[in-house]
């Protein structure tokens, strides 16, 4: 019973409820929000953020961060354009780009786990480095003549219906990541590392190796996001996805993951991603300016950090009051 109350009062359940409420409100109150075309647009808009948020959730739970993801996306996009110009087939390019993403992630992993450097510093460094390399690869050119079969698939829906093709990919990956994080010993070890990595090390968890592979996966997913981004906008460019890393981190924090590690859930994060995207989409349909969207996002973030503390504070004071109400004898 108290277990249930604890769940209900935890932030990720709150954010899921808020998201459902906002979704319902927008469907009823905002003209053109609930139709299938708009649903497709919504999913396409949140896709890169949602994808990158999957490994980012795991990384932040272990108490680390990866700010290089958007630059990895940009660099893979640039490489994709360059390889296409060189005449490689798209079927070769796509897995290659994911592999390159994984390699870029491995560079982060080596610097952080082998050399013991702080992940914030390393990934800010590779954020700049990878973006710079993207411009070296493609310069100011944009490559746009990708095959319609692929660009059409990314922007298309299943059988022309309401469900976008890319949603299937997102759901499959989200389920895999969700199961790994919340239902395997490996997932539990991530929480343990985030809570106290010394203790985790003494209980036999190979902390360095775990973190290394998380960065590899993060890079691979960023590479995949780069491929999808390029195909969606049919434009490979060095500046693709600039600034996206902050949108991802915002969604992860909004979803109730503690920036200090050790706490959070993937479902909360995915709700966070959805909530931000729905707000953007609905407010835009109501002709609210982009600046106002930023203000809303900022307030939400601050609230998401404040509210759990307030909830915890209230719960503690209730708990103390209950303790005081118990006669001393019975203790």
């Amino acid at each position: 019973m108290s277990e249930l109350r604890g769940r209900l009062a935890s932030w990720d359940s709150v954010i899921i409820l808020i998201t459902v409420a906002v979704l319902a409100g927008a469907s009823i109150g905002v003209e053109n929000f609930g139709n299938s075309t708009n649903f497709t647009f919504l999913i396409l808009d949140l896709l890169p953020i949602a994808l990158i948020a999957l490994p980012m959730t795991m990384i932040v739970i272990t108490g680390e961060i990866d700010l290089s993801v958007a630059s990895t996306l940009g660099l893979t996009s640039a490489i994709m354009g360059d390889l296409w110009n060189r005449g490689l087939t798209i079927e070769t390019i796509i897995p290659l780009c994911v592999l390159i993403g994984a390699l870029l992630g491995a560079v982060n992993g080596v610097l952080i786990t082998r050399l013991g450097l702080p992940s914030l510093a390393v990934t800010i460094g590779t954020l700049a480095l990878y973006r710079g390399l993207a411009f070296v690869v493609l310069g100011d050119a944009a490559v746009a003549d990708f095959p319609w079969t692929f660009t059409g698939w990314v922007t298309g829906t299943i059988g022309g219906g309401p469900i976008p093709n890319v949603l299937i990919l997102l759901v499959v990956l989200a389920v895999i990541f969700g199961v790994v994080l919340h239902a395997t010993p490996f997932g539990r070890s991530l929480f343990a590392i985030g809570a106290n990595d010394q203790a985790a090390r003494f209980s036999g968890i190979d902390v360095a190796r775990t973190k290394f592979w998380l960065y590899v996966v993060s890079g691979a997913i960023a590479g995949l996001a780069g491929v999808l981004w390029t195909l969606r906008y049919s434009s490979a460019r060095a500046d693709n996805g600039a600034g996206l890393e902050l949108a991802v981190v915002a969604a992860v924090l909004l979803g109730g993951v503690s920036i200090f590690g050790g706490r959070g859930s993937l479902w909360g994060v995915l709700s966070g991603v959805l909530l931000l995207a729905v707000l953007q989409n609905a407010l835009r349909l109501q002709d609210v300016s982009g600046q106002a969207l930023n203000i809303v996002t900022g307030l939400l973030l601050i609230a998401s950090v404040l509210l759990p503390n307030i909830i915890a504070g209230v719960r503690n004071s209730l708990h103390r009051r209950r303790l005081r109400a118990v006669p001393a004898k019975s203790l």
């Binding site: 087939t89 660009t151 460019r237």
Partner: protein
């Protein structure tokens, strides 16, 4: 044991990705990809009545950019004359993909006309074609989208005309010889790059043989970065005579730097600027000459072209004509281009006649 899980995760991810990619023969560059937008099918009726109550939306490269604001302001005036509903939307940043979700929103809102200054000619294409399939007329202005995904393009001046004008001003200000440099917007700005290319071509001509373009730098249309880049240019090239900045943000930042430095009077700043931003630098002698078309007229013409499209007076074919309010009659050139006219040069003599 644990590691196997992560590895499995990595392998699962990778295999999933390759799963979607059936390797049958493969598709590479140059293979036919038949993705064309809706072709102009209807025929124009020049005598059709101009529709009233048209919903005309403007989507500049980004909001809160003084230049975009003036442009859209001209559109607003025209929409008022046309008795339509004017709307201005746009992203906060000028990234290639930022405009796409705004286009999608305008489709949902069932606008009649979208006027767009494209951040990237291709990134907006799929969405614009979706808009056109939904019966929305698309007018690009300032920075063109691919010609397959818009009906007409309002060209403020031909690329050739602007580039020639920039080269001519630089040559006059350098006194016919010496080092010049360019301070541009972003490295991938469609229009800036096209103008710079023309300037480079012009400089190959014999009359410009003594001019030397030493460097092109990019201030990304950010005031601070443009300021620093202008400063950097003068530090790297002490003999620089002219900085040419084909962007309003860049020219103002460069002029501000030079006016407050020892280079004032030694280094000329020219390019494309807004009279209101440049007035003080013209008055204090930092800047003697710069040019621009009258931007409000671009938005004004775009709105009228959109209304003519939505009323069926034009379809975007070469040779069709329409009347754009106080600007008079325009004829559509090849590829759906409508040219506004030559750029205006601003000097101490005439700058006070302009307020934008």
């Amino acid at each position: 044991m644990r590691i196997h899980t992560t590895r499995a995760l990595a392998v699962a991810t990778a295999s999933l990705l390759t799963l979607g990619v059936a390797a049958c023969g493969g598709t590479s560059k140059g293979d036919d990809n038949g993705a064309a937008g809706p072709a102009a099918t209807a025929s124009a009726d020049p005598n059709a009545a101009t529709r009233e109550g048209l919903k005309i939306a403007f989507l500049p490269k980004q909001l809160n950019n003084p230049y975009s604001d003036v442009l859209a302001g001209g559109g607003e005036v025209a929409v008022g004359e046309l008795k339509g509903e004017y709307k201005l939307v746009g992203p906060n940043d000028a990234a290639a993909s930022s405009q796409v979700s705004y286009i999608n929103t305008l489709i949902q809102q069932q606008q009649d006309v979208i006027g767009i200054a494209a951040n990237d000619p291709n990134a907006v294409c799929p969405s614009l074609n979706q808009a056109r399939q939904a019966g929305i007329k698309v007018v690009s202005f300032d920075s063109d989208a691919s010609k397959d995904c818009r009906d007409v393009f309002i060209n403020q001046a031909t690329t050739q005309g602007i580039g020639e004008s920039l080269a001519k001003m630089a040559n006059e200000l350098a006194g016919g010889e010496g080092e010049i440099a360019i301070l541009s917007a972003t490295p991938n700005a469609t229009n800036q790059n096209a103008w710079i290319k023309v300037v480079e071509e012009e400089l190959k001509k014999p009359e410009y043989s003594k001019l030397k373009l030493v460097k092109t730098v990019y201030g990304n249309d950010e005031d601070q970065k443009s300021f620093q880049e202008a400063q950097g240019l003068l530090q790297s090239f002490p003999n620089l005579k002219v900085i040419v900045s084909p962007t309003t943000v860049g020219i103002a930042a460069a002029a501000r730097y030079v006016s407050s430095s020892s280079y004032k009077g030694k280094v000329a700043i020219t390019g494309l600027g807004l009279p209101n931003q440049m007035r003080e630098y013209v008055k204090d002698g930092t800047v003697t000459k710069f040019a621009l078309w009258v931007p409000a007229d671009i938005g004004y013409l775009a709105a009228y072209a959109g209304a003519a499209l939505a009323s069926g007076q034009i379809t975007g074919k070469e040779g069709e004509t329409f009347t754009a309010g106080r600007l008079g009659e325009y004829t559509i050139a090849a590829n759906g281009e409508i040219v506004l006219g030559p750029p205006t040069e601003f000097t101490a003599q005439n700058i006070d006649q302009f307020d934008f």
